[in-house]
């Protein structure tokens, strides 16, 4: 099933033409309205008129997460605030999240994109959709929410956490679909079993899972444990949120809504396009957004693109599963975490040495994060309470910066490895294959 068959199965020639027109408009828009891009384009000797075909996209400048931070909060917006109807933000280094502004039209593009995803998973207006992604500044909850409403389904705006209640409402409201992180889906599966709820009492048919990398074996496990079909949904707030790409019934890559988000795969070192089908860094240009259009945004996600037509009939390019990152970002319980965020917290607290180690693991299908820190000798106390207060202080600070809770472990002096070269700051014990 397709939500928008005209677009989703449009002959490539026509699609490329639409993309070209939309790209030209976008470049013109940012040239006129975003000083950041105007300056960049002028420095490169480019004018909007230089974009003659979609292939000319390679001439355009890149955008990075750092550019978003440098232009915090609103300097990358291409529309006046009077046209911005919603703000989202993702966690960032101390005090500087990355902010995204949406115009009314952007929100409608987003719900259209999400509606295509849900329809591809077999969702219809008869479905009751439990949205167990977090609601709030995070785009997960509201993104899927908009898609379900668009197709006329029923939304249970559950948000994340509170597992017992999740399961109770899933049963009592007769939820037929769910959206959450794949690891939370596994956790729910086990919780349902622990609560001895017979499968017949649940009407769940399928789920949309994303916001963190997952694998084919996790898919099988989710499908077994919950007795549903599990589909991938991909997105990132900088581009729009969940709904950038989606799996169809063939489950052989995720179709990119490329009439809105144009994908490229580049060699992360040279930043030149790779040969078709080769792996590299995924880069997106938003070609219809008004609030905050981005040119060639470097996602740092590694994958490859499949250009061949899919058996489902869609012509949209597919992306393979994300196999890794070209930077040191970790995704923990669906939240983006950079080791540098931990460093920034430790550096501003006199009680700790500038050494730390993040240990990421997955226990009972939930990501765990332990952060080991060394207390400076003069701050060791003879009283347990004072040490616990110190631990609580850094835990709170870390939670407010990272957006997730971590288990802080106070370490003895010199117990963390000192290295002369690049220090090992992360041990990720999660198995993703």
């Amino acid at each position: 099933m397709m939500w928008n068959e005209t677009m989703e199965s449009m002959p490539l020639e026509e699609l490329r033409k639409i993309q070209r027109i939309r790209l030209q408009k976008t470049v013109e828009k940012v040239y006129l309205n975003t000083p950041f891009y105007r300056k960049k384009l002028q420095e490169m000797g480019l004018e909007p008129g230089d974009i003659q075909s979609i292939d000319d996209i390679v001439k355009l400048p890149f955008t990075t997460k750092q550019d978003l931070r440098d232009n915090y909060p609103f300097d990358l917006f291409a529309s006046p605030m009077s046209e911005i109807v919603r703000l989202h933000a993702s966690s960032g280094t101390t005090g500087r999240p990355t902010v995204v502004g949406y115009s009314r039209k952007d929100l409608s593009i987003w719900s259209e994109a999400a509606a295509r995803c849900i329809t591809a998973y077999g969702g219809t207006k008869d479905d009751i959709f439990q949205v167990s992604y977090g609601y709030g500044l995070f785009t997960g909850g509201l993104g899927v929410h908009g898609g379900v409403e668009k197709i006329g389904g029923t939304v249970i705006p559950m948000s994340s956490g509170n597992t017992d209640k999740q399961i109770m409402l899933m049963r009592d409201f007769g939820a037929t679909a769910i959206a959450c992180t794949p690891s939370y889906a596994l956790f729910l599966g086990e919780a349902i079993r622990d609560m001895n709820i017979p499968r017949e009492q649940l009407r769940l048919r399928f789920g949309a899972f994303g916001a963190e990398p997952w694998t084919e074996s996790m898919r099988k496990e989710i499908e077994d444990k919950l007795g549903i079909k599990a589909y991938d949904i991909y997105g990132l707030s900088e581009i729009i949120g969940p709904g950038v790409s989606y799996e169809c019934e063939c489950q052989n890559g995720s179709h990119i809504n490329e009439d809105h988000f144009f994908p490229e795969i580049l060699n992360p070192e040279t930043l030149k396009p790779v040969k078709p089908g080769e792996q590299g860094e995924l880069v997106f240009t938003t070609i219809t957004k008004e609030g905050m259009p981005l040119l060639r945004y470097r996602t740092k996600d590694l994958c490859s693109l499949i250009y061949e037509k899919c058996d489902c009939g869609r012509t949209f390019t597919r992306m393979t599963r994300i196999t890794g990152r070209s930077d040191d970002m970790l995704i923990i319980r669906g939240v983006n975490v950079f080791p540098s965020q931990v460093e920034s917290v430790i550096l501003e607290m006199a009680e700790f040495e500038p050494h730390y180690l993040l240990i990421v693991d997955r226990m009972n299908n939930l990501d765990t994060l332990q952060i080991q820190v060394e207390t400076r000798p003069e701050y060791f106390s003879d009283e347990i309470n004072k040490m616990l207060i110190l631990k609580k202080k850094i835990s709170h600070r870390l939670q407010s910066v990272l957006g997730i809770s971590a288990d802080v472990k106070l370490m003895e002096p010199r117990s963390l490895e000192r290295s002369t070269g690049k220090a090992k700051r992360v041990i990720d014990n999660r198995k993703l294959d």
Binding site: P377, E378, S381, D382, I384
Partner: protein, 141 residues
């Protein structure tokens, strides 16, 4: 009448306590009394030793998380009810005890006490004619 006490931060890691004991033993430092306070992921070893300054220096060199703090040592007869008198006095003078530990030595019992107000507590206990051990006495026990 204040006594120097070492406190050593220990991760919950097997053999760590043995290392402290061996470092001190090799340096010829005797342990008079100690106690351990622990929670789920770390412990604090509190130690009275024959030469606290030297012990502190050696442990620091070995990268232990070690500090010196001040406590008092009360000597009371090793008979029922002896401790309660001292505790009543501390309570009546509106002081609290952060922690304490005891060790018996022949006819008398010694109690290491860490009150919230150390100097004041020493004065009050001495005013009530309770026997406190001087550092020089205690380190040689």
């Amino acid at each position: 009448m204040t006594i120097k006490q070492l406190s050593i931060f220990l991760e919950n890691r097997s053999g760590r306590l043995a290392e402290v004991a061996s470092v001190l033993g090799e340096a010829g430092i005797n342990m008079t009394a100690f106690s351990i306070a622990e929670n789920t992921d770390f412990g604090i070893l509190r130690l009275i030793v024959s030469d606290p300054d030297k012990a502190m220096q050696i442990l620091k060199e070995k990268h232990f998380g070690v500090n010196l703090s001040s406590v008092l040592c009360l000597r009371c007869p090793n008979v029922p009810g002896a401790l309660s008198k001292a505790l009543e006095i501390i309570k009546d003078n509106d002081m609290t005890i952060e922690y304490m530990y005891a060790f018996a030595c022949g006819e008398s019992a010694n109690v290491i006490i860490r009150p919230d107000k150390l100097e004041e507590c020493i004065k009050v206990l001495q005013a009530h004619k309770l026997e406190l051990l001087a550092a020089s006495d205690l380190y040689q026990l």
